[in-house]
């Protein structure tokens, strides 16, 4: 990491952490626990590229996370999430990070270079297992979390 980047990365991460903690409410212990889990996953996430901050952090059951994963590809595939192999009693944390990542992209329709992904989503188990869920672009990761997806389902 170059020296010149560290102050900016530190500032952004501090602001993100403050925003997340205040935003979820200091009495919302589950949300704080999710945030802590995602912060603890930062070293893992940094393997995929540069981390600018934690954007979203959410705890859910295995079933809800699996259904959310399956719904995101339902237009293309009849897909069963590998998370269904986990114990249904497990709690999973969905973490969305911002930054710049080295996950696979494809050339744009005109053949030119696609920009690197700016969003990375990991799933962290309650035993500390971290798996890559997806990568994409900030503002285009909808539904960003399982609860976002459930909310959109109930609204229709």
């Amino acid at each position: 990491m170059t020296t010149s980047r560290r102050p900016l990365i530190l500032l952004f991460s501090l602001l993100a952490a403050i925003a997340i903690v205040i935003g979820v409410g200091v009495k919302n212990r589950p949300a704080l626990a999710a945030t802590n889990a995602c912060i603890n996953a930062i070293p893992h996430a940094a393997e995929y590229g540069r981390i600018d901050g934690v954007i979203r952090a959410e705890n859910d059951s295995v079933d809800v996370v699996a259904r959310w994963q399956e719904a995101r590809v339902a237009q293309s595939l009849s897909y069963q999430s590998p998370l269904r192999a986990m114990s249904p009693k497990s709690t999973l944390t969905v973490c969305l990070f911002s930054g710049q990542f080295v996950t696979p992209t494809a050339p744009l329709p005109d053949g030119s270079v696609a920009p690197p992904h700016s969003a990375l989503r990991l799933v962290v188990s309650d035993t500390g297992l971290v798996t890559l869920d997806s990568a994409g672009y900030l503002g285009r990761m909808q539904p960003e979390t399982p609860q976002d997806w459930l909310g959109s389902m109930s609204a229709t």
Binding site: R6, I9, V26, Y48, R50, S76, P107, R140
Partner: protein, 238 residues
């Protein structure tokens, strides 16, 4: 605000700061992002599948990062993309070979991009061997009558993964090399027997419909209508 919650806030902030400072990021993570690729599009929305034959080619001068997770560090991807017509231009299926960790972590991978441009990995096979041996890579969709459509990812004749799928087929087949590593070098490798599937029958690519190469770091050129070279040689010559 009570003292207890305030302490928790500062603890989280301090933990974040400590982790961000302590975690080294790859020096050029994402700063280099280049391709060498060529595509087949001239027949329009008819492509039920695609096939390529190529070796898994060694990488030199690659940083020793990305030694744990797939799709991390300073990767090179020898790959192909099956763009699905009818969706957004970002809908595609992919099948390729990843090289990471000073080319000691080599793996086959497959996945898809959904209509929001989200890359979703579906599977990986670790322990791939580099060399001159050619391997056959296939992505195809097949209509199974009562069962509807199925998509297959196949390597050397073995179906590695399969799912029920919608009926959308491709109007854009693309093969090539994607790199996130400016120091890496990969000798030019030969991609050949490029074929598309139509009406259940395989046909050779016939168009040399387009190519894009980030020279001089990358190299790439058509050799024949159904074959091309690709590499990261540093001088634009394969």
């Amino acid at each position: 605000m009570r003292r207890g919650p305030a302490r928790r806030i500062w603890a989280v902030i301090a933990a974040t700061a400590a982790l961000v400072l302590a975690v080294p990021s790859p020096a050029a993570a994402g700063d280099t992002h280049i391709y060498s690729h060529g595509w087949e599009t001239s027949l329009g929305r008819v492509y039920e599948g695609m096939s390529q034959v190529r070796p898994n080619t060694a990488v030199t001068n690659q940083p020793s990062d990305g030694c744990g997770d797939y799709f991390s560090g300073s990767p090179l991807y020898q790959t192909m993309w099956y763009h699905v017509a009818g969706g957004t231009d970002e809908d595609f299926f992919e099948l390729g070979t990843g090289h990471q960790c000073n080319d000691t972590k080599r793996y086959y991978y497959w996945g898809l991009n959904n209509s929001h441009g989200q890359w979703i990995p579906l599977g990986e096979i670790n322990g791939v061997t580099n060399g001159s041996t050619d391997h056959t890579f296939v992505i195809k969709k097949a209509y199974n009558g009562f069962s509807g459509w199925t998509v297959y990812w196949k390597i050397d004749g073995t179906t590695e993964d399969t799912y029920g799928a919608n009926s959308s087929i491709s109007n854009d087949l693309d093969v090539g090399l994607e790199s996130y590593c400016s120091t890496c070098r990969m000798s030019g490798y030969y991609i050949h027997n490029l074929q598309y599937l139509q009406g259940g029958t395989w046909h050779p690519w016939a168009g040399r419909d387009g190519e894009q190469v980030n020279k001089p770091t990358m190299c790439g050129e058509w050799y024949f209508v159904d074959s091309r070279w690709a590499g990261e040689t540093g001088n634009g010559i394969c």
